[in-house]
């Protein structure tokens, strides 16, 4: 079985640009959560989606948005990129969203 897949693995963007990150959960998992991990810190919760509905949102500005599609894959969008958005963005999938989280390898975003 394929694990959680994220794309792209790396990308470089310029300040002010927009970025879309993608995540495909493990087959059968209906929940996707997004986390941001800045160098030297633990991952920080951004969003959780379950059955295409937003279940929760962390302390992030409105520049961050996400959605979940009928096939349970998900996109994280970040507008008006700032240098401080440079981080590893991790996607975690689980069956119901309350336990059993499996993480993808992440997307390394660099904003210059």
């Amino acid at each position: 079985d394929a694990g959680v897949t994220q794309s792209p693995t790396h990308l470089i963007k310029t300040r002010g640009q927009h970025v879309t990150l993608r995540c495909s959960p493990i087959s059968g998992h209906k929940s996707v959560s997004w986390y941001q991990q800045v160098l030297g810190q633990g991952p920080q919760f951004i969003f959780q989606y379950y059955e295409k509905e937003e279940r929760g949102r962390g302390n992030f500005p409105d520049r961050f948005s996400a959605r979940q599609f009928p096939n349970y894959s998900s996109e994280l969008n970040v507008n008006a990129l700032l240098l401080g958005d440079s981080a590893l963005y991790l996607c975690a999938s689980s069956f119901t969203g309350d336990y059993g989280y499996t993480f993808g390898s992440g997307t390394r975003l660099t904003v210059v």
Binding site: Y35, Q44, Q48, D98, Y99, Y101, F103, R108
Partner: protein, 113 residues
């Protein structure tokens, strides 16, 4: 605000040593505590703890949870160079309908040959 404190933040040991990693937490509507190992990118799951005082073991790794004192420890015996990684503690809590993991900063473990 949910809070997780891991100690030490970094640790350097020799192969064969035993290490103990600590995690104290305060989260809303606690459900479980998870330990992850992060080597390069994806955190990989080690343990999920839900009950106090019950040790979970996997090979040379073991972990236990104290829900009264709000802490957990992760032990690694007979360390190997392959154990070098960041170890993340993440209690799971809920706020309304959402469940999230709150991560500590992690403990960077370096095992020298």
């Amino acid at each position: 605000e949910d809070k997780v404190v891991q100690s030490p933040l970094s640790l350097v040991v020799h192969e064969g040593d035993t290490v103990t990693l600590n995690c104290s937490y305060e989260v809303t509507n606690f459900r479980s505590l998870l330990w992850y190992k992060q080597e390069k990118k994806a955190p990989t799951f080690l343990f999920m703890l839900t009950s106090s005082g019950i040790e979970k073991k996997s090979g040379r790794l073991s972990s236990i949870l104290d829900k009264k004192e709000l802490f957990s420890i992760l032990n690694i015996t007979a360390t190997q160079t392959g154990d070098s990684a960041i170890y993340l503690c993440a209690p799971s809590g809920s706020g309304g309908s959402n469940y999230k993991l709150t991560f500590g900063k992690g403990t960077l473990l370096t095992v020298n040959p």
